[in-house]
């Protein structure tokens, strides 16, 4: 079992009465890209801040690179790269000064050539002030800043929020480039599942502060299935199938969302229930995620009844 980079034991944080992160037990192995996926307000940012020791957990604890995140020593923090949500940097600094400021904290570790190359690739000059940069450019700068010290663990909090496709692609390329080097891990939270699918090995789904899934992308893709079953006469109201997450009935049809049941199990079940025909719907990651976290059990948002 490879060494775990980040683990948390029943990590919980209450903001006033509402729970932001609820007993998170997480383990992320070294050497993978892990996608933090969750709906808005599911507690992704809070979880990341808790793990980085920026916030004090109400209960439980978390470990980063083997050291408790409340007592992260400067040496360990030096090996962690963190991109804040919204790429917040000091607006009054110019890029050159910001680089000089950051370099003071990473003496030997700082890879100047890489930083210069990235800036040149992004087409940014060192004299530009951060406040004059657009969102995308600021994101590029913070990516360059995060990758330059060649961190062992890179944590990005929603890096691709509101960026155009090209910059997003550069972010993903940057992460992959980091992963290439031996023993590096990247953990990034995102809303664009296309990126997550393209880049991440493992996926962590957080829903309402609770950990819903922590597996490799492939396992997640294989296990979430949607089956459309058509019946000759009336669709049965009660039925029993293992791994049923959610089902929608219409007059003659049943739409089931199954987790983890393999196809021949479905085949047998269809025969026992006497379905006329059934069809496993191919779903991409986004649909799977939506089914998994926000099943439309209450029916569609907008219904068009024929008059």
């Amino acid at each position: 079992m490879t060494e775990t980079v980040l683990e948390s034991q029943s990590l919980t944080k209450y903001f006033g009465k509402t729970v932001a992160v609820d007993h998170l037990n997480l383990e992320i192995p070294r050497g993978c890209i892990c996608g933090f996926v969750g709906r808005n307000g599911a507690g992704k940012t809070t979880a990341i801040k808790l793990m980085l020791g920026l916030l004090k957990p109400t209960i439980g604890s978390s470990k980063l690179l083997g050291c408790d995140s409340m007592a992260l020593t400067p040496v360990i923090r030096q090996r962690i790269g963190y991109v804040t949500e919204g790429h917040r940097l000091f607006r009054w600094m110019s890029i050159g000064r910001l680089e000089k400021f950051q370099r003071a904290f990473f003496q030997k570790q700082w890879d100047e050539r890489l930083f210069a190359d990235m800036l040149e690739y992004f087409g940014l000059s060192k004299k530009q002030k951060i406040k004059h940069l657009s969102n995308g450019q600021r994101a590029q700068v913070s990516l360059a800043l995060a990758l330059a010290p060649n961190p062992e663990l890179l944590i990005m909090d929603d890096p691709t929020l509101g960026l155009d496709a090209a910059i997003r692609r550069q972010f993903l390329a940057g992460m992959i480039e980091l992963i290439m080097r031996e023993g590096r891990t990247a953990l990034f939270s995102s809303h664009i599942l296309g990126d997550v699918e393209r880049v991440s090995d493992r996926i962590v789904v957080i829903d309402k502060g609770r950990l819903r899934a922590n597996c490799t992308l492939e396992q997640f893709r294989n296990s979430v299935k949607k089956v459309k079953v058509a019946f000759a006469d009336r669709a049965p109201t009660e039925f029993e199938i293992e791994g049923l997450l959610n089902c929608r009935r219409s007059e003659k049809e049943l739409e089931l969302v199954l987790i983890g049941t393999d196809s021949n199990r479905i085949n047998e079940w269809a025969k026992t229930v006497g379905a006329e025909k059934y069809q496993i719907v191919q779903m991409n990651l986004e649909d799977q995620f939506i089914e998994y976290t926000a099943p439309a059990s209450k029916g569609k948002l907008f219904r068009w009844e024929e008059i």
């Binding site: 993978c32 890209i33 692609r169 993903l172 390329a173 992959i176 480039e177 992963i179 290439m180 599942l193 296309g194 990126d195 699918e197 393209r198 880049v199 991440s200 090995d201 992308l217 492939e218 893709r221 191919q282 779903m283 991409n284 990651l285 986004e286």
Partner: protein, 139 residues
């Protein structure tokens, strides 16, 4: 020799990833490479681009590329020599298993249903199929 290397370098360009599609990414990569082999752009003995290069090229995770290669290897289309990379295997060794066949039949069914919907006759369909097959097997 020159064009072959170029070909292989260009290999990355031929594989198009559409993350939003139904199949997982590694399936897409594997499919497109096997199609390229079927089409003959990759003849046996060619060297596939190394995992890291293809990953960097396509901006996808190296593990996915590695998994795609292993899937191709199971299908026997590709053979990996340790240390020097992966090469297209010669056709005799290729073995297909049942899973490939029913994927094939599935694809055929969708083709046929689409054709019938267009109002084509059975005869025309067979005719069309014959011409396409010849195009492939001519070389």
């Amino acid at each position: 020799m020159f064009d072959k290397i170029r070909l292989i370098d260009l290999m990355g360009l031929w594989v198009q990833i559409s993350p939003g599609s139904d199949e997982p990414v590694y399936v897409q990569v594997a499919e497109q490479i096997s199609e390229a082999i079927a089409r003959g752009e990759l003849s046996s003995g060619d060297k596939l681009p190394p995992v890291r290069k293809l990953a960097a090229e396509l901006v996808i995770n190296p593990n996915t590329v590695a998994r795609a290669y292993s899937r191709l290897e199971q299908a026997g289309l590709v053979v990996t020599k340790t240390g020097s990379g992966t090469y297209v295997s010669d056709p005799k060794l290729r073995k297909a298993d049942a899973a490939d066949f029913n994927i094939l039949t599935e694809r055929m069914d969708t083709l046929i249903t689409r054709g019938l919907n267009l109002g084509l006759e059975q005869q025309d369909l067979i005719e069309m199929f014959k011409t396409r097959v010849e195009k492939f097997t001519k070389k």
